[in-house]
């Protein structure tokens, strides 16, 4: 490009800037963009962490041993028990967090593998902390109470325990002064439990306490219990509908 040509080009640009009254975009628009991208990245990381916390809570509190009573094969039980929604959230959030971070002003300096590894590590640590502190369980309970049909997409665990004919029963204790314990199951039916169950840790057999019972039905509204288990978390509304 010769000098004459160069000058023409410069004059054209300067002429257009003046004619169209062009001015540089304000600084705040760039700051807004940068902080928005960073916020999206952090949000994805936090949502991923919460997802992992709830996933961990579900996996660790799930009754993995009752698949035979439930009439399921082991792998079918695993498949139906895993909170797929949260697993999907984890799978989406980690790469999204990476993508958003790499779009930040300095994000491109870091290697893809390093950002993804760090995202996974942070999600695991934060998620575990959320599980330990009970935040993950509280969040899961809150979502179950406020979002309609939430339990359909995260795995219906309450209904599993409303099959006395299969030896699985769950409900709230309404009388436990002496043996037998009387409960109201989560569909509103009253049951008298007989037998001397192995009382699991954390089960205090107090009125108002929610418990799971393994045993077998011995009559109309009578259930012979072989084991009591503590009920973790909320009860899904209309669990078997």
């Amino acid at each position: 490009m010769d000098k004459q040509h160069e000058d023409n080009c410069i004059n054209c640009v300067m002429g257009r800037i003046k004619k169209d009254h062009l001015t540089p975009k304000p600084k705040w628009t760039f700051l807004f963009h940068d902080y928005s991208v960073l916020a999206i990245s952090l949000s994805a990381l936090i949502i991923g962490s919460i997802s992992f916390g709830i996933f961990l809570n579900t996996v660790l509190t799930n009754d993995w041993d009752i698949y035979q009573q439930a009439g399921r094969g082991f792998w079918e039980h695993v498949w139906k028990s895993l909170p797929m929604l949260w697993l999907i959230f984890i799978i989406i959030c980690i790469p999204y967090s990476y993508y958003a971070f790499s779009e930040t002003e300095k994000g491109y300096h870091y290697k893809q593998s390093m950002i993804i590894s760090l995202s996974i590590l942070i999600s695991l640590i934060l998620g575990t902390l959320m599980y330990i502190t009970g935040f993950a369980e509280d969040t899961d309970d809150y979502l179950m109470e406020t979002i309609p049909y939430y339990h359909y997409i995260t795995g219906n665990h309450t209904c599993l325990w409303l099959h006395p004919e299969k030896g699985l029963l769950a409900g709230m204790i309404i009388s436990s002064t002496t043996n037998p314990v009387i409960i109201v199951d989560f569909e509103g039916n009253q049951w008298v439990t007989t037998g001397v169950p192995a009382v699991a840790k954390d089960v205090r057999s107090r009125i108002g306490e929610k418990i799971k019972i393994i045993g077998h039905m011995v009559g109309n509204a009578v259930f012979e219990a072989s084991e009591f288990r503590h009920w973790d978390g909320s009860v899904e509304p209309n669990p078997c509908r």
Partner: protein, 193 residues
């Protein structure tokens, strides 16, 4: 105006241009030639309309002056905007016939990185076209790093800032691009002289 800004750095001129648009002319004066050369290397089919392309690029640069990150070299930032614009043109103009761009720099690339011995004049003339042809046949992700490294003579940090890639990735891309270039060149023209 253009004489008064010769001693000023790019960064000082950016600050002045935001306040007074006349100073932007100084920045354009510095970058018109290198950027037009770079655009033609990335999208040779735009050689005839380089003025229009260059004007669009400078208008983009002007509008985004407040987004310039002082941690970067201004040249890297300017090349990044130009690169993005050129690549978007390349995507739009895939169907345009490829033209061969040749200048002495292409031969320098050949001489420094491909050839093993000093060729004669006739070989030099052919080599320019051959190098350009092979470069233009390469995938843009390899072509762009070869152009930035060996024709624009940028270091790895600058290339990383322009392409928004980590320095390690730039090194890997350059190494792979060189291998691919040699393979393609040898396949088409035989062993480099």
């Amino acid at each position: 105006m253009y004489n008064t800004c010769e001693e000023k750095t790019d960064e000082e001129l950016v600050a002045l241009s935001i306040e007074d648009q006349e100073y932007f002319g100084c920045l354009m004066k510095r970058y018109t030639a290198p950027l037009s050369r770079y655009i033609i290397r990335i999208v040779p089919s735009f050689r005839d309309s380089i003025d229009d392309v260059l004007q669009e690029v400078f208008i983009k640069i002007y509008l985004n002056l407040n987004g310039f990150d002082p941690d970067l070299k201004f040249s890297s930032w300017v090349y990044r905007i130009t690169h993005n614009h050129a690549v978007s043109l390349l995507r739009k103009e895939k169907s345009r016939p490829k033209t061969v761009s040749t200048d002495n720099d292409e031969y320098d690339f050949f001489e420094r990185y491909i050839a093993d011995s000093q060729p004669n004049e006739k070989e030099i003339r052919y080599a320019k076209e051959e190098v350009s042809y092979v470069l233009n046949q390469m995938d843009i992700k390899y072509r762009e790093v070869l152009i930035l490294r060996y024709l624009e003579e940028m270091d790895y940090d600058e290339i990383g800032d322009i392409l928004k890639k980590p320095v390690g990735t730039v090194g890997t891309l350059i190494s792979r691009a060189k291998t691919l270039f040699k393979e393609e060149y040898t396949k088409r023209y035989g062993q480099a002289t």
